[in-house]
């Protein structure tokens, strides 16, 4: 790891100020992704701006909208009684991220800002039509996840919260890579008032929706309906653990399991 400066601002304004004035400053949240990259000398920021002192870790519900602060840890989301009541699918997703150490350090804001193609949260955001709230604006999930490790965030922009609709009929199922235990294929299914949305992570270069399956589930919200949709392997990832054909198959299997879990929640 190369040397860097460390800042721990007390307000969002101060954090934004540091990010605006120091060239090559990076936000530090849980550090679960950023610190390993720095240790491997793949990233060498001038300065880290730690969000730990900012009041951004709360979880609240009002008028059918669930707000999760950007620095809420995966373990807090998993254990939240509010989420267990109004959005159990997201709590269950958080409880399945990484291992206990990672869940007690990693944050929802960090995961979303990082947009790892195999990360779990992006599937929840996209399927639920969530909004990413920053220090400047709110961005809908469909516009936020742009591509491989790429988001709509501008340089220095800080994610402050994620806003989800409160939906009980929504759940996630993932097939873990045997080695890393990230998603080889993860599917989040959400039955929203306006229709079913299905988002897939781990299988492609970035999280994406499955319109054909959404249409099928609109007609019949059953695991069988999900399984009956043919998934095209074209464009899906291939690596030593899973080729595109296997990933396409897993998307169908996980979609079926997610639907079953969503039915069980509702």
């Amino acid at each position: 790891m190369r040397d860097f400066a460390y800042h721990k601002p007390a307000t969002i304004e101060a954090a934004a100020g540091l990010l605006a004035t120091i060239e090559d400053a990076r936000v530090l949240a849980g550090g679960m992704t950023l610190l390993p990259t720095m240790k491997q000398r793949l990233a060498a920021p001038e300065a880290l701006v730690d969000l730990a002192a900012l009041p951004l870790s709360g979880i609240a519900e009002a008028d059918g909208v669930v707000t999760i602060g950007a620095t809420a840890r995966h373990a807090d989301v998993a254990a939240s009684p509010i989420l267990a009541r109004v959005l159990p699918g997201v709590a269950a997703l958080a409880g399945g991220i990484g291992d206990p150490q990672v869940r007690h350090r990693g944050t929802i804001g960090g995961s979303v800002a990082n947009n790892d193609p195999a990360a779990d949260y992006p599937a929840a955001l996209l399927a639920l039509g969530a909004e990413v709230v920053t220090d400047r604006r709110a961005i809908v999930a469909d516009d936020f996840f742009v591509g491989l490790f790429e988001t709509a965030l501008a340089p220095g922009e800080i994610v402050t919260a994620i806003r989800f609709p409160a939906v009980r009929r929504a759940a996630y199922a993932k097939f873990r890579s045997p080695a890393s235990r990230y998603a080889l294929a993860g599917v989040f299914v959400a039955a929203l008032p306006a229709g079913v949305r299905v988002a897939v992570t781990g299988a492609g270069p970035s999280v994406f929706r499955l319109p054909a399956m959404e249409a099928a589930l609109d007609k019949s919200f059953t695991p069988e309906a999900a399984r009956a949709v043919a998934i095209d392997p074209a464009g899906l990832n291939s690596d030593i653990h899973a080729d595109a054909a296997y990933r396409a198959h897993l998307v169908g299997v996980m979609a079926g399991r997610a639907v079953a879990a969503a039915i069980a929640f509702s």
Binding site: M1, R2, D3, Q40, R41, F175, P178, A179, S180, Y182, D239, I240, H241, A242, D243, A245, Y246, H249, L250, V253
Partner: protein, 795 residues
């Protein structure tokens, strides 16, 4: 424990207190005055010529003390890394043994090959400078696949090794095998891969070199399983430092599994650099650096055939193996797929004729050497898979075909057609016991229950024998070993009766400090907590070959037993004098020497006191002091064995294989500490399950990049991958070791891969699947199921 703890007891491990309280002393913990830090620049190419290496910018960076290249070491007369075992090909010619410089010279031969070494005031400065070195690589086509490497026109790893063939080796009687096949009623055939493994001990490798300009003394602290051998190989062949001026210390070591039983380039480089710079130089391997610089294991491709008569009796076996050596020969590389492999192909069976040929091949990959089991898991996998294929094809029950061909207990000692003579064993007893313990009779009902839940279930057997307790030196010498393979122990009795043992083996997780103390406590009647075991320092311990090949208890323990007997002999002489009795009337028992039939006795501590304060002592006939040393060279290998049963469940939707149950019955000879034996068997099984289901070192065939170069892609077995295991021992005594012990360190790793894969194949047999290569990963299983389904649909 302030009492005698003898053979067969299971005290808590002595060494664990310091480990679980964070008081271990590992190489990375050691800080020397004025110490500098080293970093290696490693090749990013699998195969390239090295043009100019521009070190000027790196050398000028702040804190940098020196930058060394292979050319610098060569100019200083540093030798190449030696090979400890030479094999001879079927043409009678010795193997090709190209030079292996500590830092690459002329070419790099694998991704990770060390090109330069930077020494700096801090680790960060060393790393930054290593990145600033500019190497003019001229990339060459690389070859990582063995069949491709042997094909004419393939890139050559060494220009003077045609066809990349290090050695074409064979064992056994080819004519007898041909005759057996000619009269066979059935021939079972199989092509299989023994997957490349990366050992990944918990503690990465590390080394510190130091030079004392005042005395001319060098010291190397290293994460080694055999410090004396490192001293010999490095001092004599690489750095030309006389043995009495070189001290090698291997302190606490956090797991070895074979990975740390080689003499590595880094050890020589830090020691040499310490001499050049007159300051201690420390290097600690990064985890990702370990993936591309620790020797790898296994990596065979094999075609095998078994000839049977109409009743399913084995008539002959033919095995042809390609074995990967990687980009250079590692210390024991060529010995593993030859001498430690082919002699085990008889397994526990009476197969009368066996022939094995092995092509030992260079490729542009990390060198391959011993990894827990080393050759014997590979042999067991071939035999036990073939037996299952034969059983299925001939419609014979899988336990029954094994029983029919097993060496009967009364046939021991049993001479196999492949060199070795098994001294003892009773494979049928192990098999019968495991069939009972694993409730094989209840399997159909469990399969039914799984089927109802939509899962496939399979059960697999593996019966095995291994050769360990390395090794009888004379025989090893005939097979190409370039050193002896005995072990030594000194029993130093202190004036007050406590005991320090100095032993040439090395404890890095096996519990030697406990097991060896039990042996001494048992023999001398000294309380368990008054016996300490010292190892791992060439300045303290006389000499030793170290720990590998399940040899420590078998060979080291035997030396310790002999040395203890010598102490008793002398103690009896001293006691006879003190008790004014004839020596033959003195019996030594329970820590006391007494005159037979009387209550006159001297305690061990009293005898030790007299030996060191010899006022009343037979000085005319006996030297003072009570310290004895013994070297023990075994007369044969030992042959632990056993029978394992694995049960798996497969999710047809995803291809995930779940190990549902595992049962092992092992014959390890006398058990000194049952808890430690159980731990060794458990750990071994888990490593074998790792090979069968999870682990795979994968190279990109074109670029030669290691695709499984971190834990993100190299899958280690985890606790939640494993069921509760049932393990027990069913032992026969070794006929030739002093305590009847056979060794247990590798049993689990040798027995388990075949059991697991046989179970996976059994589960998928209804689909028509005949073989599954390791690791049986979900993706691989899903494709097999899909192809089988497509094939069935096409019929």
């Amino acid at each position: 424990m302030a009492e005698v703890v003898g053979i067969g007891a299971a005290p808590r491990r002595k060494e664990d207190f310091r480990f679980v309280t964070g008081r271990g002393n590992y190489v990375a913990d050691i800080v020397r005055p004025g110490m500098a830090f080293g970093a290696f620049l490693r090749s990013v190419h699998a195969h390239a010529e090295i043009g100019a290496v521009d070190t000027a910018a790196a050398a000028a960076m702040p804190g940098v003390r020196a930058v060394f290249t292979g050319a610098d070491m060569a100019a200083d007369g540093v030798g190449g890394l030696p090979v400890g075992w030479g094999i001879v090909g079927r043409d009678g010619l010795p193997m090709k043994e190209p030079p292996h410089p500590a830092l690459a010279v002329g070419k790099v031969r694998y991704v990770g090959d060390a090109v330069a070494f930077v020494v700096a005031d801090t680790l960060e400065a060393a790393r930054a400078a290593a990145e600033a070195i500019v190497v003019d690589y001229r990339p060459l086509p690389a070859v990582v696949d063995m069949a491709a490497a042997l094909t004419p026109g393939s890139p050559l790893v060494f220009d003077d090794v045609p066809g990349n063939l290090c050695c074409d080796w064979e064992l056994g009687d080819a004519i007898a095998v041909d005759k057996a096949f000619a009269k066979a009623a059935h021939v079972a055939r199989l092509k299989l891969v023994n997957n490349r493994l990366i050992g990944n001990p918990m503690e990465p490798r590390a080394a510190i070199g130091e030079y004392n300009a005042g005395t001319g003394q060098y010291t190397l602290w290293t994460t080694s399983q055999f410090p004396h051998v490192v001293r010999l190989l490095m001092g004599e062949f690489v750095l030309h430092i006389p043995q009495h001026r070189l001290r090698v210390v291997a302190p606490d070591v956090g797991g070895g599994f074979g990975v740390k039983q080689f003499h590595y380039a880094e050890e020589a480089v830090v020691t040499w650099a310490a001499g050049k710079l007159a300051c201690p130089v420390k290097w600690v391997c990064e985890r990702s650096e370990g993936f591309i610089s620790d020797a790898h294991g296994r990596d065979h491709v094999t075609e095998a055939a078994l000839a049977l008569d109409a009743e399913g009796r084995f008539l002959g076996m033919k095995v042809e193996t390609l074995a990967n050596m990687g980009g250079y020969l590692s210390t024991f590389g060529p010995n593993i797929p030859t001498n430690l492999y082919a002699p085990l192909l008889s397994g526990v069976y009476t197969t009368p004729a066996i022939h094995c040929s092995v092509k030992v091949v260079f490729t542009n990959t990390v060198p391959v050497d011993a990894y827990r089991g080393a050759g014997r898991p590979e042999a067991t996998f071939v035999v036990e898979r073939l037996v299952d294929v034969a059983a299925i094809e001939m419609g014979i029950d899988k336990a029954e075909i094994r029983r029919r061909n097993m060496i009967p207990a009364e046939a021991y000692p049993y001479q196999t057609p492949v060199l070795v003579e098994y001294d003892s064993g009773n494979p049928r007893a192990c098999l019968d016991r495991v069939v009972e313990l694993a409730d094989v009779a209840g399997f159909p009902a469990r399969r039914e229950a799984s089927a109802k839940a939509g899962k496939y279930r399979g059960l697999g057997f593996s019966t095995y024998v291994e050769a360990c307790g390395l090794a009888p030196s004379r025989l090893a010498g005939q097979l190409g070993a370039r050193g002896g393979l005995y072990e030594s122990a000194t029993v130093r009795v202190h004036p007050t009766g406590q005991v320090t043992v100095l032993i040439g083996t090395h404890n890095h997780g096996q519990g030697h400090e406990t097991t060896f103390a039990q042996i001494v406590s048992d023999k001398l009647g000294v309380p368990f907590d008054q016996v300490d075991i010292v190892f791992g320092d060439t300045d303290k311990v006389q000499f030793g070959m170290g720990t590998y090949g399940s040899r420590s208890l078998v060979v080291g323990g035997a030396a310790l037993s002999k040395a203890s007997d010598k102490v008793i002999l002398k103690a009896r002489k001293i006691a006879a004098h003190l008790l004014e009795a004839a020596e033959q009337d003195v019996v030594f028992e329970n820590g006391k020497a007494s005159v037979a039939g009387t209550d006159r006795a001297k305690t061990f501590a009293e005898i030790a006191g007299a030996a060191y304060v010899p006022h009343n002592y037979p000085l005319e006939t006996l030297e003072p002091g009570l310290e004895e040393q013994a070297y023990y060279d075994p007369v044969n290998f030992t042959y632990p064995g056993g029978a394992h049963v694995a049960e798996v469940e497969i999710d047809p939707e995803t291809g995930v294989v779940t190990l549902a149950a595992y049962t092992a019955v092992d014959d390890v000879g006398t058990v000194i500490n049952p808890m430690i034996v159980e731990g060794q068997i458990h750990g071994g099984i888990i490593q074998g399950v790792g090979q069968a289901l999870f682990e795979h070192g994968v190279y990109d065939p074109d670029s030669g990049q290691l695709l499984s170069g971190s834990f993100m892609d190299y899958c280690m077995p985890r606790a939640d991958d494993l069921p509760k295991m049932t393990t027990t021992t069913q032992s026969t005594q070794c006929a030739h070791t002093p305590m009847g012990v056979k060794g247990c360190g590798e049993c689990g790793t040798i027995g388990s891969p075949a059991a697991v894969i046989n179970a996976v194949v059994d589960a998928l047999a209804p689909l028509g699947v005949k073989h599954v290569d390791m690791p049986a990963s979900p993706g691989r299983i899903w494709h097999l199921m899909r192809n089988a389904g497509l094939a069935q649909a096409a019929e």
